[in-house]
């Protein structure tokens, strides 16, 4: 196997739950503030999941105080503490760029109910 694949594989983490664009996730990331480290939570809809192997990243979108905020995270970064899936959504595209043009009711995503 290629050395690059080996290096990338070593850095992948295994504790990432399965989720797709349209799902709502909570990302717990470590941030360093004033020399201190703490865990910050960011909850929102996954709009983009791109890249592969250790370079995979996601973009999470939420509306905070009426302002749309998008944050992207490197999925395999050691700065990510953990990721939780809060809600599964039904969407028909892999990149939810249309969300940024919609506000309020238009920006809702239907929930996918668990199949019994």
């Amino acid at each position: 196997m290629n050395v690059i694949d080996l290096i990338e594989r070593e850095q992948e983490r295994s504790n990432i739950p399965g989720f797709r664009p349209g799902d709502t996730v909570k990302v717990y990331s470590r941030v360093v503030e004033g020399g201190k480290e703490r865990v910050q939570m960011f909850e929102g809809v996954v709009t983009v999941r791109k890249g592969g192997s250790s370079g995979e990243s996601i973009t999470v979108r939420r509306v905070a105080h009426g302002v749309g905020v998008e944050k992207s995270f490197l999925l395999h970064s050691p700065r990510i503490e953990r990721i939780e899936v809060a809600r599964r959504g039904i969407v028909r595209r892999s990149r939810l760029y249309y969300l940024s043009e919609k506000i309020g009711k238009g920006a809702r995503i239907k929930e996918k109910k668990a199949v019994r």
Binding site: V3, I4, I7, S54, L74
Partner: protein, 215 residues
């Protein structure tokens, strides 16, 4: 001795201990055998010739094979000479990635990617002209300089063959040196395409972080 020959594998990114993602070039380096010690008395200059990557003996010319025979070493494909940091290196010895450490600064020499006959925009970063609105100069080099001179100044930048030059990228940081796999990870790009052969040596730049740069 911080000199080694390697093969560029490609680029990727790795996470550092403090969680940053760093772009790196992966280089399969060594093990190299020390083929020859050149001296001022005998050869007119001081250098060490390293050899890298096993070769079939039948692939070598007789003069090449002769050098390996003199050193009593198995034949190798690539030979490169290094002139700095070569004290106490004797023919027959082996050089590996273990000579390098995380945080070292190195210079990487290689042959840059070929671009063929290229215009001024690609070769010299010219700005180029307007695309439309009647502009008739699109990617042309435009003026060649002062008309009073009556001739074009020597060394003026013109279109021509670009790439396939011996290029040095100085002061690259060693992000990881994996002696087990004979792999070096260097921060940033190195000259040439994947599978290109590069020479790596301690940097000639004087660094604030790594005092002296050499060593």
């Amino acid at each position: 001795m911080k000199n080694i020959i390697g093969r560029k594998v490609g680029m990727t990114s790795v996470f550092t201990a403090d969680g940053r993602s760093v772009p790196v070039t992966v280089i399969e380096a060594g093990p190299c055998s020390v083929l020859q010690r050149k001296t001022v008395e005998k050869d007119g200059y001081d250098a060490v010739a390293l050899a890298f990557a096993d070769a079939k003996k039948s692939r070598l010319t007789k003069p090449q094979a002769g050098r390996f025979k003199t050193a009593a070493l198995p034949p190798k494909r690539f030979i490169r000479e290094f002139r700095a940091n070569i004290e106490g290196v004797e023919p027959g010895a082996t050089v590996t990635v273990a000579e390098f450490q995380e945080g070292d600064r190195v210079d990487v020499r290689g042959v840059s990617k070929g671009h063929g006959f290229s215009g001024g925009i690609k070769r010299w970063n010219f700005s180029g002209g307007g695309a439309s609105h009647g502009s008739m100069i699109h990617r042309q080099p435009a003026s060649n300089g002062d008309t009073n001179a009556g001739h074009t100044h020597r060394g003026s930048r013109r279109p021509g063959h670009f790439g396939v030059d011996r290029t040095t990228h100085q002061n690259l940081e060693v992000v990881r040196a994996d002696a087990e796999r004979n792999v070096l990870l260097l921060r940033g790009p190195v000259p040439g395409a994947p599978n290109g052969i590069v020479s790596i040596s301690a940097t000639v730049k004087r660094n604030k972080r790594t005092a002296g740069g050499t060593a």
